[in-house]
Symmetry: C2
DNA sequence: TTGATTTGTTAATCTACATGAATGCATAGG
DNA sequence: CCTATGCATTCATGTAGATTAACAAATCAA
C-alpha cells in the first residue's frame, strides 16, 4: 500500500511520528491498543512468555500496518509488545481513527482487502507451523520475505520461526554446506 | 453470526445445499475456490502433505464461514480440502456472490468485523504454536472451543494442534491422572 | 582506543514429541 | 450375526530441536 489515504482520511505529514531503533511503541498489559502504519523503517510485534523469552509475531516494513488485533477485537489488554528494529516513521492509528464514521465506501473496501490478505498470510503461517520442519519453514520464510533477512538479526528470524537461534544457525550451516 | 443476510443479500432457503458426513466440498488443486457458510453441522479444512498426512487448519460449526482464503487472495489453486465431519447444511458462496457490487454499507462493515475477528483468532493460534507446548496448546484449545471436542475424534484435534494422536493421548492421560 | 555487551557458531547433552507396532473397543457393512 | 475397518491407548525406540556452555566476531559505550 503506497498511500495511507486509501484507507484513511488524514493529513499524513501532520500525523507522522518518529521513533528510534529500540523504542517501544506499545507494551503488553496496556489497554487501548493502537495500530501503527509504517511509513519508513521496520517494526516488530512480539510476546514475552513466563520464562522471559521473546516470541516474534510479525515484522512490519514500509507500507505495513502492525497491531495487536486480538486485544483490539476482544477488547483485552494487549498481549503484544511493538518496537522499532530500525529508526522509523510511523502513523499512529487509534481506534477512533480506524473506525471513523466518515470513511468512504472505497476506504472500507480497501480495508476489507487488507484484512483478507492478512488472513491469507496467517493461514499460510499456521499451516507451515503445524505441518513443516524448521528447515522448511525457514526456506519458505526466505522465499516469502526475501528482504527481511538483511535487515534483522538471525535470532529474530529464529524467534519468528518458533525455534532457537542455535537451531537456526545449524540449519543455515546445513543449507550452505549443501551448495 | 445468526443471519447470513447480515453480510449477503440472498435467499437463504434457495441457496442451501445438503451434504453427508464425509462428503468433500472442495479439493486441493481445484481452482476457483469457494467459501462455505455453515447453517447446520460441522465442516473442516485441511492440507495433505507429501507423506499423505492430514493437517487440519480449522473446524467450522454452525454460523461459521470456511474457505481457503490464501488461494482466494493470491488467486492460486486451492491448498485446502474442505469436507463434512457431520451431515451439514451449507450455503455455497462463490467469489461473485461475496464481492457483489450491490452489497450495502452495513454488509461490508459486517464483513470487515468478521475478517478482523478471524485475524484475531489466527494471531492467537500462531502465538500458541510458536511459544507453547503441546499440552498448553491442548488446554487452550479446550477453553477456546469447549464444544468441539464432543463432536470430533481425538485424532482430528491432534491434527489441529500439530501433534500426533499418540502424543495427544499421552497428554490426556497425564491431565486426567493429575486430577 | 578499550573493555563490555550482543551476536552467531559449534558441540555435548537432554527432552518433547514422532514413529512404529501391539492391543482392546467401538462402529459399520455384508 | 460376524467380520473388517477405524479409533484410542500404551510402550519401545528414534530424532528434531531445546538447553547449556564455550568461543570468536561484531557492535556499542565510555
Amino acid at each position: 500500500m503506497e498511500n495511507i489515504n486509501e484507507i484513511l482520511n488524514l493529513d499524513s505529514e501532520k500525523n507522522t511520528s518518529r521513533f528510534n531503533k529500540g523504542e517501544i511503541l506499545q507494551r503488553a498489559e496496556e489497554n487501548c491498543s493502537k495500530a501503527f502504519f509504517v511509513k519508513k523503517g521496520l517494526l516488530r510485534s512480539y510476546t514475552i512468555d513466563d520464562k522471559g523469552k521473546e516470541h516474534i509475531f510479525m515484522f512490519a516494513p514500509e507500507g505495513w500496518v502492525i497491531a495487536d488485533i486480538e486485544s483490539q477485537e476482544f477488547k483485552q489488554p494487549a498481549k503484544l509488545f511493538i518496537d522499532c528494529i530500525e529508526d522509523s516513521e510511523v502513523i499512529i492509528l487509534d481506534r477512533g481513527l480506524l473506525h471513523k464514521p466518515d470513511r468512504g465506501f472505497d476506504q472500507i473496501k480497501k480495508n476489507e482487502t487488507l484484512l483478507s490478505r492478512r488472513v491469507a498470510v496467517l493461514q499460510r503461517r499456521v499451516i507451515m507451523l503445524i505441518s513443516a520442519s524448521a528447515k522448511d519453514r525457514y526456506e519458505s520464510f526466505l522465499e516469502t520475505y526475501p528482504k527481511i533477512p538483511n535487515r534483522v538479526p538471525q535470532r529474530m528470524i529464529a524467534s519468528y520461526l518458533g525455534i532457537t537461534p542455535q537451531a537456526l544457525s545449524t540449519i543455515r550451516g546445513e543449507i550452505s554446506r549443501k551448495k
